[in-house]
Amino acid sequence: MSAVPLAWYLALSAVLFSIGVAGFLFRRNLITIFMSIELMLNAVNLSFVAFSYQLRQIDGHIFALFVMVVAAAEAAVGLAIILAIFRNRGTLQVDEVSSLKH
């Protein structure tokens, strides 16, 4: 085998995406959960870049770049929110943040 089929990259992306979802579902720490989302975004980026390769165009790269920017922006805001939560409640336990319900 001289080269890896592109599909493998996409499959890897899918797997990473699923792992990210799993992290969101099973982690209890807000920051970890947030990191799972970052993982999902990374997986998506891999897809973009892989598709870019197939299409032989770099629009996908641009998209990936924007995703990074957005991820960075989200990180800033998200971590600020987490910070505020922690100040309020003294915990990062996601299950504790459930006073609004029903």
């Binding site: 979802v21 996601v94 609004l100 319900k101």
Partner: protein, 618 residues
């Protein structure tokens, strides 16, 4: 044909009613009397004037005033008419009505609601006259229902007394059951003949073949007769009439003896053209009439309330009239209406006089020996008694004779039953007379003779009772009911007269000669006596089989069961089910972020699967 202004006949009492109803409360008694009695008198005089003008009244004289109800092919006019039959009825109604109005002025003198009483009475006259004058079935129905209303109002005149108001309700509702039949008959008549006008309907009926087996005319006739059984208190709807005695006695005389209750007879006589074509229906009429006559007479034998006795007597006599109609002797039936109006009105008015004399006492067991204290009443009542007992040559003899002879012609067994009934009639009437006027006074009240305003009408009615038989009604009605004349078989006449006399004699034996005998006989008869005394328990039977199940069923099954439990339960159930679903959905909103993510994931997977698999299938 010149306008005779027939409408004035009912309109006069109507005006009286309106005046009394609107301002009667503020009027002095004299004015009330003038209005009430005057309007009836004027009406009576107007009847005389019209009859004089129209004499000999060989054809129908009809007048149409305006269209009442018109829709599609239906066109019912406000249309009055007078022919010989209605002429007879008009005279009886206005004449006897007038006398009773006078009497009532005395009888009611000390009662509260004087104006109210007379306004009702005038209203009754209005409706009764509309009934008699109506020229189509629907207008007849107007009068029919209207007199029922007045009957309701007057029975319940003493509205503080629960028994009175209950009796009024009973009268109205039982009559409604009859009217149910009547109205169905009207529907059928319109369907069959396309009109409700008497002339056209009867002409149409006459053109149809006689129905030897059941057919449309039989159905119509029977339904009409259902109406008649209600109004004229026949089996099985007679139960209201005895209770109707809760009303003031003049009411009993006017409405429940002389006029209203004969409306059924009048109606059947009026519809003779229909009945003649339906022999089956005629048989039913005759049999029901006979059964009623016997049944009511037997009950009458045992009653102690003087008005109840006469009430059952009325039922019985009405049965007689239907017997006449049923055997085709229409003119005899109408004849009996007339004579019965005289003597039965008299009986009631006399009874009223007695009650008046005894300050309201109605129980025969608390009377006795009033012969001396109320001589006029006694004499007039005796006149009535002999008339009803069929003693020749008084009025009752003539009409009853006609009926019995016609019955014999139709079926001899009917004659014999009729004779026995006649005997019973004589017995219970004289029983009442003897218990009231003979023997020792058993009551406590101070008895006194009634004032002239009451006794004069009594006297006039007494004359009519004695001599009323000489108004040859059958002959007068001959053009309307041709070929109805019967042969006078002297033997049969003698038998019927003898039966009456036997009745009188037995009454004398039981209640004057051997006062202990009734008690002993009652003892001997035991259960049978109690059954008869309790009116065959018919009221109780109706209550147990119809009224109670209906009411309780409505309450428990329909209202609480169907409405509240089932329908509302279903509706509210849907509501609480929806809220329950909402509650579950809210529980899903646990507030936990990871749970929400799981739901999102679930949704995504479902969407992916749905679209993906759909796409894969393409």
């Amino acid at each position: 044909m010149t306008m005779q202004h027939l409408w004035l006949i009912p309109a006069l009492p109507l005006a009286g009613f309106l005046i009394l109803g609107a301002v009667g409360r503020r009027l002095p008694k004299a004015v009330i009397n003038a209005v009430a009695i005057g309007s009836v008198l004027l009406s009576f005089l107007w009847v005389l004037k019209i009859l004089a003008a129209l004499a000999p009244l060989e054809a129908v004289h009809a007048e149409r005033y305006f269209t009442w109800v018109a829709s599609g092919s239906l066109d019912v006019g406000f249309e009055l008419a007078v022919d010989r039959l209605s002429a007879v009825m008009l005279l009886v109604v206005t004449g006897v009505g007038f006398l009773i109005h006078i009497y009532a002025a005395g009888y009611m003198a000390h009662e509260g609601g004087y104006y109210r009483f007379f306004s009702y009475m005038n209203l009754f006259m209005f409706f009764m006259l509309v009934l008699v004058l109506a020229n189509n079935f629907l207008l007849l129905f107007v009068g029919w229902e209207g007199v029922g209303l007045c009957s309701y109002l007057l029975i319940g005149f003493y509205f503080l007394r629960r028994s009175a108001t209950t009796a009024g309700n009973k009268a109205f509702i039982v009559n409604r059951i009859g009217d149910f039949g009547f109205s169905l008959a009207i529907f059928l008549i319109f369907i069959t003949f396309g009109t409700l006008d008497f002339a056209k309907v009867f002409a149409g009926a006459a053109s149809m073949p006689v129905e030897h087996s059941a057919g449309i005319l039989t159905a119509i006739s029977l339904l009409l007769f259902v109406g008649a059984t209600g109004k004229s208190a026949q089996v099985p709807l007679y139960v209201w009439l005895p209770d109707a005695m809760e009303g003031p006695t003049p009411v009993s005389a006017l409405i429940h003896a002389a006029t209203m209750v004969t409306a059924g007879v009048y109606m059947v006589a009026r519809s003779a053209a229909l009945f003649i074509q339906a022999p089956l229906a005629m048989d039913v009429v005759a049999v029901v009439g006979l059964v009623t006559a016997v049944l009511a007479a037997t009950i009458g034998l045992t009653q102690y309330d003087i008005k109840k006795v006469f009430a059952y007597s009325t039922v019985s006599q009405l049965g007689y009239m239907f017997l006449a109609l049923g055997v085709g002797a229409f003119s005899a039936g109408v004849y009996h209406i007339v004579t019965h109006a005289f003597f039965k009105a008299l009986l009631f008015l006399g009874a009223g006089s007695v009650i008046h004399a005894l300050s309201g006492e109605q129980d025969l067991r608390n009377m006795g020996g009033l012969r001396k204290k109320t001589p006029v009443t006694f004499v007039t009542l005796m006149c009535a008694a002999v008339a009803i007992a069929g003693v020749p040559p008084f009025s009752g003899f003539h009409s009853k004779d006609e009926i019995l002879l016609a019955a014999h012609q139709a079926a001899p067994w009917m004659f014999w039953v009729g004779v026995v009934t006649a005997s019973m009639t004589a017995f219970y009437v004289f029983r009442a007379i003897f218990l009231t006027f003979f023997g020792k006074y058993r009551g406590t009240a101070h008895a006194h003779e009634s004032p002239a305003v009451m006794t004069v009408p009594l006297a006039l009615l007494a004359l009519l009772s004695l001599g009323g038989g000489y108004f040859r009604v059958p002959a007068f009605l001959e053009p309307l009911y041709p070929g109805a004349a019967v042969e006078h078989d002297m033997a049969l006449v003698a038998i019927s007269v003898a039966a009456g006399l036997v009745g009188i004699g037995l009454a004398f034996l039981f209640y004057v000669a051997r006062p202990g005998l009734p008690e002993a006989l009652a003892q001997r008869l035991g259960a049978v006596y109690r059954l008869v005394y309790n009116k065959y328990l018919v009221d109780e039977l109706y209550a147990a089989t119809i009224i109670r199940p209906t009411v309780e069923g409505s309450r428990h099954v329909l209202w609480r069961g169907m409405d509240v439990a089932v329908i509302d339960g279903l509706v509210n159930g849907i509501g609480s089910w929806a809220r329950g679903v909402g509650g579950v959905l809210r529980l899903v909103q646990s507030g936990n972020i990871r749970s929400y993510a799981a739901w999102i994931l679930l949704g995504s997977v479902l969407v992916l699967a749905a679209i993906g698999l759909a796409g894969g299938g393409q």
